[in-house]
């Protein structure tokens, strides 16, 4: 009990939330969000199939402030889940498990996803 070198269980008052935990949660959240987003993708394609009038209606709905925010959210979810998914695939083949590597790839994925989202909307 007097061995101060042995690790202590998380000391909540001084515990620093690791970035890797944020990404782990975000991967799930963005995945579930995009499962809901499938309904929007479906509405978009169905309205395109239904004709110009219906398509205009859906596009104008998606062009509202809430619609745009939702689409920006979905696009970030897409690019984040894509980039972090590749990070997971790299882990699956056995690379990148060192703590510094996992932290570095976490920040890289976050910046890449943000950058891709920004680039997508600037180019659209």
């Amino acid at each position: 009990m007097s061995d101060t070198k042995s690790p202590l269980s998380p000391h909540l008052s001084i515990y620093r939330w690791p970035i890797t935990m944020t990404l782990s949660i975000l991967h799930r959240v963005t995945g579930v969000a995009m499962s809901v987003g499938l309904i929007v993708l479906c509405a978009w394609l169905m309205s395109a199939a239904a004709g110009a009038a219906d398509y205009e209606r859906v596009v104008s709905l998606l062009s509202t402030m809430i619609g745009k925010l939702m689409l920006i959210g979905f696009s970030f979810a897409f690019f984040f889940h894509l980039a972090n998914g590749v990070r997971h695939l790299v882990w699956d083949v056995g690379y990148g498990f060192e703590k510094y590597q996992a932290n570095a790839s976490a920040w890289f994925v976050l910046l890449l996803a943000g950058g891709m989202t920004a680039a997508f909307w600037m180019l659209l």
Binding site: R28, G31, V32, M34, S35, L38, I39, L41, C42, L45, M46, A48, A49, G51, A52, Y55, E56, V59, F78, F79, L82, G85, V86, H88, L89, D92, V93, G94, F120, L123, L124
Partner: protein, 129 residues
């Protein structure tokens, strides 16, 4: 790759029907993920390349035979990957047995319906144009 993850239980038959359901889920999730890397990026770039606000432009894009094929592959892979993911989330967070089974069935039904609606829309545009 698979050997490292399932350790000692690896029986050498990754895509064989004899492997357990957990391994098949794992493999299917990864295979669909790899397909979606390419098709997802293709879709994002395609959307940038066309005027998505113009109905005629979108219909012309979807109706292209190659795009009918790629969009069908994309949306079906999306639906499958989504189904696999939602299944894991339900299994992780829904513990009451009856509600868990009901949620899994509801998710499967919803994903099948979405897949049908997506494929119907793509083919309707492809055949109309």
């Amino acid at each position: 790759m698979v050997r490292a993850v399932i350790g000692g239980r690896y029986d050498g038959s990754v895509l064989d029907v004899a492997v357990n359901a957990g391994t098949r889920h794992f493999v299917a999730q990864r295979v669909t993920a790899i397909i979606l890397i390419f098709l997802g990026l293709w879709f994002a770039i395609s959307i940038i390349g066309i005027d998505v606000f113009a109905h005629g432009v979108v219909v012309t894009f979807v109706a292209d035979p190659l795009n009918v094929f790629l969009l069908t592959l994309l949306t079906m892979t999306l639906a499958y990957h989504s189904y696999l993911g939602v299944q894991v989330v339900i299994e992780d967070y829904v513990h009451a047995n009856g509600f868990k089974v009901a949620s899994l069935i509801a998710s499967r039904l919803a994903h099948v319906l979405i897949a049908i609606a997506l494929i119907y829309s793509i083919f309707k545009i492809g055949l109309d144009a």
